[in-house]
Symmetry: C2
Subunit: 323 residues, 2 copies
């Protein structure tokens, strides 16, 4: 039963506490609608205070029907709703559509969460999304952080994001909705890298399930869980080390750290300037290591998004070279 | 150039020191023959003392031709050779052929290494083997340890195993041999899980290269390198924790450890009894965690290969329940 799965995930990661005020992002697609019903089912038990957020990103001609559908849900379940309409495509003249849509969505959620004083923001990602994400990252190249996939619980800019459905299969979510006789909208295209992801979802994962391991999705999800714990521990250690080393990294001290911790310290410095380490691949880290070990004082390595790193007199510093 | 790749790997992992006595396992296949030629080329520079080991496992009707071929190489390069003939199939009445072949081979190498007082045992695995191994483990389900793949340097029972070709592509190894005008024997079937591995080698990896990422093998190899460092660090921390907790694990203290370290401590205890953690999958660890958190005192969990674990009065102990 999906509700048991949900309870188990909530308990394992400590996702929900009594009296939490939770902002649920409801697109109208199956995942978020199921999440809404399920959290509504736990409302009494946890004394939850729920609030729905819906962003009409105007990407599909029928997207306002999604908004109508979500309004209907909110009034049926008697849960307050905030909607907003933003023409994402118009905004996306700069940058990729997916990235802009993602940022607009997070922005809206964070602002609303602050306004209504929500403790948590709940998103509807499921185990199938998790498997796709992890596989996508493996195919493109990744390390422990990427292998952690979609985290069940995460702090972004002081907001706690929770994903209670991250261990539930898409098919079980759909079965739950059928049984509830709820017909959700189409899954909206608010996921990044739609083309590559769809190829993995519709071609590669079915092939792997058929030919290599019928439990491939569970197996990838378990790997993500395990990598998530490992990353959490290592990044904690690296955070302490980075603080001790200071913003200008003393290379003599740095090189005494374990190589695993060294690499994470470099990533933390990049994330501090860039907000995240997306687009930072293995080769970048290797180039910084080459800078540290083999290049003369004064040498610079340029990284994506206008971040650079310079080695000077046995010290390494990261800085913004452009915007 | 493959020799630059080799030097780079040797330097990065500290595989070879001056005056090393190295036992090279030469099956007669491309990898081990290339390794022999390449190490022979570094002989003067590192003042190496080389010795060849060849095991005729009698698995193929023509396997004695491999032995003749290796004898020819040894006399041409003037490197001492020790060969042995063992009917692996006869021995394999108990257990799987691959596992028996693997154990016989390691046994022979370890005994010979001790006899001739070798510092290191060199094996010929390459980057393509690495990619296959990592992908195979991902498909079957694995954690950080499995993701580390084939380690470039490893201690087994006090013997140092080195794999100087682990970052070299199979095609570059073959090109090197063509250029040297050396015609190796067929790659012998001394690898585990031949059927599954061959399917991955001949079907899945070519598909992934063509449709998803042409550098998929390098990307998997980089991931293995990175996971290898992370695992090394975490297992070091877990080793210290396991020592402090003692053979009967005080659960109150255990539960104060970070979950990532907890899981590795459990694996270390299993490895201590079983020699390794092969066949221990995610579900086993999860079951032990359930034992710790939810089951009454006196409960037992049975693991593969006759290992059991019992919870008694807030203590956890692993023991051999059968042989």
């Amino acid at each position: 039963m999906i509700i048991d799965k949900l309870r188990n995930t909530i308990k394992k990661y400590g996702l929900i506490s009594r009296l939490d005020k939770i902002l649920i992002a409801v697109s109208g697609g199956p995942d978020s609608v199921a999440l809404l019903y399920l959290l509504n089912g736990l409302k009494e038990e946890f004394k939850l205070n729920l609030h729905i957020a819906h962003l009409d990103h105007m990407l599909r001609p029928d997207s306002c029907k999604d908004a109508e559908f979500v309004k209907g849900l909110a009034s049926r379940l008697k849960i307050p709703l905030t909607t907003i309409q933003i023409d994402v495509r118009e905004l996306a003249s700069r940058g990729s559509l997916e990235e802009v849509a993602r940022n607009v969505r997070l922005d809206f959620l964070f602002k609303l969460a602050r306004e209504i004083k929500a403790d948590k923001i709940a998103l509807g990602h499921n185990l199938d999304d998790q498997a796709e994400t992890v596989l996508m990252r493996i195919l493109r190249g990744t390390g422990l952080y990427g292998l952690s996939g979609i985290l069940p619980k995460r702090n972004i800019d002081g907001y706690q994001i929770i994903r209670p459905l991250i261990e539930a299969r898409r098919r079980d979510i759909e079965a739950f909705l059928r049984q509830k006789k709820v017909k959700p909208c189409l899954d909206p295209s608010n996921k990044e890298d739609i083309y590559f992801r769809n190829k993995i979802r519709n071609k590669l994962l079915p092939l792997l399930e058929k030919e290599y391991n019928k439990n491939i999705k569970e197996v990838l999800s378990n790997m993500a869980e395990s990598a998530g714990y490992d990353y959490d521990y290592l990044s904690h250690i690296a955070g302490i080390a980075a603080k001790r080393l200071g913003p200008k990294i003393h290379l003599d001290k740095f090189l005494k750290l374990h190589p695993a911790v060294q690499r994470l310290v470099l990533r933390l410095h990049i994330a501090r300037l860039k907000g995240n380490t997306r687009r930072i691949v293995f080769q970048h880290i290797r180039e910084i290591e080459d800078l540290i070990l083999n290049r003369p004082s004064g040498s610079v390595v340029d990284l994506p998004k206008g971040i650079s790193v310079i080695k000077k007199k046995k010290k390494l510093s990261f800085y913004r070279s452009q915007n």
